[in-house]
């Protein structure tokens, strides 16, 4: 179970994530996107999910990643991601509730290049009972 005291807290991501052209190319190839000058609109989930996993599964937060499904997802893209971008991240646990034994947690991820916010995204993650 997620520690309710963690709701409202913002956590700094541990890594600096530098985006390579190869990463953009392989993501674009899956969906048949030929234009690889920028990353596809959902590319940032690669960075955000990795950060969410490392933060939310910390013992003091306590989310069970093995029973997780993705409920919904939203992106606000302030400018497209390009190869060479180096992002620091933060993750904010915005809400948490338990419905019929399922834990429902909404987390916001912000990707920053220096002080510029490039993408904000919201993921609702469901830990099934």
């Amino acid at each position: 179970m997620l520690n309710p005291d963690s709701v409202g807290r913002t956590f700094a991501g541990v890594d600096v994530n530098t985006v390579t052209q190869e990463e953009i190319n392989s993501f674009a190839a899956v969906i048949g996107e030929k234009n690889t000058s920028v990353a596809p609109p959902t590319f940032s989930i690669k960075i955000s999910l990795r950060e969410f996993e490392s933060i939310l599964t910390k013992p003091e937060i306590g989310l069970d990643w093995t029973r997780l499904v993705h409920g919904d997802q939203k992106f606000e893209i302030f400018r497209p991601i390009v190869a060479g971008d180096s992002f620091t991240t933060s993750a904010t646990i915005e809400s948490y509730k338990v419905v019929a034994g399922n834990e429902i947690v909404t987390v916001r991820s912000d990707l920053f290049s220096g002080t510029e916010k490039v993408v904000s995204s919201w993921s609702t993650l469901v830990v099934r009972a």
Binding site: E23, S26, F27, A29, V30, I31, G32, E33, N35, S37, V38, A39, P40, P41, T42, I45, K46, L49, R50, R67, L68, V69, H70, G71, D72, Q73, K74, F75, E76, I77, P80, W122
Partner: protein, 141 residues
């Protein structure tokens, strides 16, 4: 290139022609590699069934990535997609040795001076797999 606000070409209620993507187990493997999401429910049939799923299912984010490609194409490129959201209402079930469809279409719901808001529909094997799917796209340069 799409002709946005002020054009008689782009009106609220305009339906964008649908596109059919194919999803199979190879594509799931390819998405797992590209995204780093190696959850076995998207790869391993025995595991998927052991956790109560009917079969291997596609990553919700793969479904959304393909819908994103559809929007990018219509908007003149991935750089023109500014907002994109969806709820994963039903899984895309991907049996072994078969390809299933992901059929995406969209409707123009709002036209502003800067861009267009779309409501997106996505089905697989006749079942609606994305709910509340919306995007805002701008006119590129």
């Amino acid at each position: 290139m799409v002709n946005f606000g002020g054009s008689s070409m782009m009106e609220i209620g305009t339906t964008i022609p649908s596109h059919e993507f194919e999803i199979n187990r190879d594509l799931l493997k390819q998405y797992a590699e590209a995204s780093g999401d190696h959850n076995p429910i998207h790869q391993d049939e025995v595991f998927a069934k052991s956790v109560g799923l009917p079969d291997v299912i596609a990553h919700g984010m793969l479904t959304m990535a393909l819908a994103g490609k559809y929007i990018s194409d219509w908007a003149g490129g991935p750089q023109n997609v500014k907002e994109f959201s969806a709820r994963f209402t039903k899984p895309v079930i991907v049996p072994a040795g078969k390809s299933v469809d992901l059929t995406v279409s969209a409707l123009v719901t709002e036209v502003t001076s800067t861009g267009v808001r779309l409501e997106i529909s996505a089905t697989s094997q006749g079942v609606k797999v994305l709910g509340m799917a919306k995007a805002f796209v701008v006119q590129g340069v």
